[in-house]
């Protein structure tokens, strides 16, 4: 059974049809990259998978671990092991990073029938992951993303992913806005997460990230559809020739 199966997914928002029949299969242990021009629907796909309710599903089906993902609430997919790193992480003044992440981890642990962690057990774990992402400990007590630089926000997303240990991680343009050092750090964090029982979906605009995280498969999303799929070499080809090159070919995208 595949970890994630997307079949003929159509979604719209405010009467704008954005996803127009997406098909994609991700198996455990695989890293997939979705590339595509601005506005092609990459974030929409990521948000739909994380179950943002502002998008309306007009057709299609998504199975996550064999379960009907589209009938789940955001917190339910999260507890089932899906994590989406936001392209634009939200600032939440008044809640500390540490408090927020412990609440999240405990919600997920509770769902799995595991014991909740108290602050004493949780803090060392969090500090560990923060060190991995080269984040200063002062971020522990700062309000979630409040006043963080673009790069700090992105790293904070990866810290969250590392703490929550999802089965499927979707990273929405986690690379954009990062300087080369931050990019290396984030890539290291993601590579450490690669495991035979975990799937990763990298949404990116640029080939740059894929020098550090080499995907197993690359898909090109144009105007709400996957128009081309291939191996890592496809990313290089895109970089060279631009998205226009991929567009005319209406490829069937299922591997």
């Amino acid at each position: 059974m595949s970890m994630l199966e997307i079949k003929n997914l159509h979604a719209k928002i405010n009467n704008h049809f954005i996803l127009k029949g997406v098909d994609l299969v991700v198996n455990a242990g695989e890293v997939h990259s979705i590339m595509g021009p601005n506005g092609s629907g990459k974030s929409t796909l990521a948000q739909v998978l994380a179950r943002r309710e502002t998008y309306e599903i007009t057709a299609g089906e998504v199975l996550f671990g064999g379960k009907d993902l589209l009938s789940m609430k955001p917190e339910e997919v999260a507890c089932e092991g899906l994590f989406m790193a936001f392209q634009y992480p939200i600032e939440i003044p008044g809640i500390s990073n540490a408090y927020f992440l412990r609440a999240a981890l405990n919600a997920i642990r509770k769902f799995r029938g595991e014991e909740e962690l108290d602050a004493m057990d949780f803090l060392p774990l969090l500090k560990d992951k923060m060190r991995l992402l080269d984040m200063d400990e002062r971020f522990l007590n700062r309000a979630v993303n409040e006043g963080f630089s673009g790069g700090e926000k992105k790293r904070n997303e990866i810290v969250q992913m590392a703490v929550l240990e999802p089965r499927l991680a979707i990273l929405d343009e986690t690379d954009s806005g990062l300087d080369i050092d931050a990019l290396r750090i984030v890539a290291k964090g993601v590579n450490l997460m690669r495991r035979p029982d975990r799937g990763i979906l990298l949404v990116t605009h640029y080939q740059r990230l894929l020098n550090y995280i080499v995907p197993d498969f690359v898909h090109v999303l144009v105007d709400g559809k996957i128009v081309k799929s291939g191996g890592p070499e496809l990313a290089l080809e895109l970089e060279e020739k631009g998205y226009g090159w991929a567009e005319p070919e209406a490829a069937t995208a299922i591997r």
């Binding site: 917190e75 939440i92 809640i95 927020f100």
Partner: protein, 457 residues
């Protein structure tokens, strides 16, 4: 329509004269002060909504109820325990407005610091009481202050000598015992901080037991000498029947720094007046408030910041959370007097409406008579943000818990402005317990029978 002034002032003259016969030794200055208050109250009566200061709050329910002075009574110490603040320097307990020595714990204050009953301080001819009491509170402007002064008998008395430094908070606990008939208390508190003294003083109002409506009309005068640093906390936790008017009037000398924190949770009809006068050069004040209303609660916050001398600064941050059919008011008035050049005044009021039936009126009012000043104000009214809610839920936190977390975060903005760790910890616990375990938009203590106080008027 509010035409309270034509109502007979039920019971108040009797209360005034009865106090005369009861007060053991009432010094002439006090009798004079009370008389002035009573005369003023008799002349103007309760305010109506035609009075601009009372536009959003109808006090007819108070004006039309015959209240009797709440009798002296006792409670067990055990009943107070949930309201004691761990880490406090001392606890002064007042039951129905009267000091209860037996229930109070005042050991351990630094030498020279006095904390106790105002009634006793007057009896004992304490000099600060005579020289400060009634000098600042404006009985002409405010009928409730006039009434409080007319019926002045007891309340808190805190005296901090020069350079006194009390780190832990001095806690005053005012207990209302609703009786078989509507009853009232008018606690009066005087806080005098001499030059360079530092302390935190807490006034907490609670109800014990059930009964008829209780009307608590408290007034506090806070005098901060040169360079004094004083934090005042008002914690309103009375039951959902209570009528509560509270006034804090602070007078700040040169470079004095006064902070007023208000946490308003309980009460049916609540009006909180905060009135600092920055009377000395370079003085600073911070007004920090949080009110959480549900059901049919009405919470009115009236701020009046007066800048009288140059280089003074004031900051107001007030957050409101309104659910059910509740109504909130934020009236932020700033007066910059002619001499108060280089005033720096800022006001921010943020409100979250959790239900379609909740309502907030927010009104800034700037009166500037100096020409070189910086005054800004802003108010927002919004709902819990969908973006933030989705972010939390996408990490596995349930919708109810996420909503609650966002409310706590909103409340935390106020807690973070409190410098006293003891109070921050205590109030965090109080607010956590106050917000429902998972917020679905249902009011706290749903199912509780609430008095439809607005129908009484």
């Amino acid at each position: 329509m509010a035409i309270a002034t034509t109502e007979p002032l039920r019971g108040y003259p009797e209360a005034f004269f009865e106090l005369d016969s009861r007060a053991l030794r009432q010094p002439a200055w006090l009798r004079e002060l009370r008389e002035r208050g009573f005369a003023r109250f008799r002349d103007v009566g309760f305010p109506t909504t035609r009075n601009e200061d009372w536009r959003f709050t109808n006090v007819n329910a108070i004006a039309q109820t015959a209240f009797q002075p709440a009798p002296a009574q006792s409670v067990t110490f055990a009943a107070l325990e949930p309201f004691l603040i761990p880490g406090a320097a001392c606890h002064l307990v007042f039951v129905n407005g009267q000091y209860a020595a037996r229930l109070s714990r005042i050991a351990g204050l630094p030498a020279g610091v006095e904390a106790g009953s105002l009634g006793e301080a007057i009896q004992n001819n304490r000099k600060p009481a005579e020289s400060h009491l009634g000098r600042y509170l404006n009985v002409e402007r405010d009928a409730f202050c006039a009434l409080n002064t007319a019926l002045l008998e007891d309340g808190g008395y805190v005296y901090l000598p020069r350079r006194a430094d009390v780190e832990a908070p001095i806690c005053l606990l005012f207990v209302s015992l609703p009786g078989t008939i509507p009853s009232m208390a008018h606690p009066r508190t005087l806080i005098v901080a001499e030059d360079e003294a530092q302390a935190s003083i807490v006034e907490q109002y609670i109800s014990l037991g059930a009964g008829e409506v209780f009307f608590s009309n408290s007034a506090t005068e806070l005098v901060a000498g040169e360079g004094a640093v004083v934090s005042h906390y008002l914690v309103e936790r009375q039951d959902r029947n209570a009528f509560k008017i509270s006034t804090l009037r602070s007078e700040q000398a040169r470079s004095a720094n006064v902070t007023s924190h208000s946490i308003l949770l309980g009460g049916a009809l609540v009006r909180n007046n905060v009135h600092p006068v920055l009377a000395g050069e370079g003085s600073e004040c911070l007004i920090n408030g949080l009110f959480i209303a549900a059901g049919k609660q009405h919470i009115d916050n009236y701020m009046l910041v007066e800048h009288a001398r140059p280089h003074s600064s004031s900051r107001q941050f007030y957050n409101g959370i309104l659910d059910g059919h509740s109504r909130g008011v934020f009236h932020g008035r700033i007066i910059v007097h002619k001499d108060a050049q280089k005033t720096d005044a800022k006001q921010t009021n943020r409100n979250l409406l959790l239900s379609d039936d909740a309502q907030i009126d927010t009104k800034p009012q700037l009166e500037i008579y100096a020409d070189d000043v910086k005054c800004t104000h802003g108010a927002t009214i919004g709902q819990v943000e969908e973006n933030a809610l989705f972010y939390l839920r996408s990490r596995g936190i349930s919708e109810g818990a996420a909503r609650r977390l966002l409310l706590l975060a909103f409340a935390n903005e106020c807690l973070e402005r409190m410098k006293c760790p003891v109070m921050r910890a205590y109030l965090e616990g109080v607010i956590q317990a106050w917000l429902p375990a998972t917020s679905t938009g249902a009011p706290p203590e749903a199912g509780e029978i609430e008095r439809r106080w607005e129908e009484a008027g």
